[in-house]
């Protein structure tokens, strides 16, 4: 199936979780937020969230500086 990951088309296997997708893409889970179809997925849900066909996934850097 096809998704859009950080503005690029990507083919992935079905039943992949967001956490697995990030790992495949070489993105560490430390200071990031993930949005699927523009809705933030709370970090606590990333490991169980199943990516569906056609979803648009964006990864953002979390910052805390001031």
């Amino acid at each position: 199936m096809q998704i859009v990951f950080n503005n690029n088309r990507l083919s992935i296997v079905s039943q992949l979780t967001l956490a697995e997708l990030l790992q495949q893409q070489g993105i560490a889970m430390d200071a990031i937020a993930v949005a699927v179809d523009n809705d933030i997925v709370p970090r606590a849900k990333i490991k169980d969230f199943i990516v569906q066909d056609g979803m648009v996934v964006d990864v953002f850097t979390l910052v805390a500086g001031g």
Binding site: A31, A44, L62, G65, G66
Partner: protein
């Protein structure tokens, strides 16, 4: 009458905007608590007082260092070694001597009630995720509206969390839902303009909130300060959040 005309003149250009016409009395009677007087809090507080927000609480425990002043424009090289609170109070009073300021050398569970007393908003402009999580938790527990703004490298984040609205929490969650288990974030580099852009964005959001001109709910603004783009996403709650989870217990 003279004093009146003087005030009208001060805000002339701001009040030309429909959003700010006849809003000076409203702004003058609002109270905002600002946590952090670094690259965000210094300029943000200056812009808010300049705009006519005349009651503020400010909190910071640091003294001014030479490495601060490229982005902390309330301070200059002669202020190195001086407390940020003392210097900020001086600069804000020089901008408008009517401003009422309460200052706090730190914020914890014990003085939070004092820090947030009678405040319409608490601004989290601190410099680390641990303090931000604690402050958000206190605001959520006390039902106090909270504005988060953060910046590092070329990334900025800005979010309004109106915690006094329990429906908001049920629908969008809290700061803890967003950051959850994020480990300690290492300090990164930053330019003065990056800090100033986010400080200004935050002040603008606060002015819109205080005047009833901000109608969005649950939006996260994600700034790319190098490529000058702003992305938006919607917050979602974590029903098992250790901070706001209790509010989701009865939701469908």
């Amino acid at each position: 009458m003279d004093k009146m005309n003087h005030c009208n003149e001060r805000y002339l250009r701001q009040a030309m905007l429909d959003e700010f016409a006849n809003k000076q009395d409203i702004l003058a009677n609002k109270k905002v608590a600002i946590a952090g007087l670094g690259g965000l809090g210094g300029l943000c507080s200056y812009l808010l007082v300049g705009a006519g927000v005349l009651k503020i609480n400010i909190a910071d425990s640091d003294v001014i260092e030479l490495s601060n002043i490229h982005r902390q424009i309330l301070f200059n090289q002669q202020n190195v070694g001086v407390s940020k609170l003392d210097c900020a109070i001086r600069e804000l009073k020089a901008l408008d001597d009517r401003v009422q300021i309460n200052s706090f050398a730190y914020i914890d569970e014990n003085n939070f009630t004092q820090f947030s007393q009678d405040c319409d908003l608490v601004l989290d402009l601190t410099d680390n995720i641990e303090t931000r999580r604690k402050l958000s938790k206190l605001c959520c527990q006390h039902a106090i509206d909270f504005v988060h703004t953060s910046v590092a490298a070329f990334n900025g984040i800005m979010i309004a969390f109106p915690y006094s609205d329990r429906d908001f929490i049920r629908k969008y969650g809290c700061y803890e839902c967003l950051v959850g288990d994020t480990p300690k974030i290492k300090p990164q580099g930053i330019t003065g303009p990056s800090a100033a852009m986010m400080a200004s964005a935050c002040a603008q959001l606060v002015l819109l909130l205080l005047t009833g001109n901000y109608k969005e709910a649950g939006k996260v603004y994600l700034y790319d300060l190098k490529n000058f783009s702003i992305k938006q996403a919607k917050l979602s709650p974590n029903e098992n959040c250790p901070v706001c989870g209790g509010f989701h217990a009865n939701s469908i």
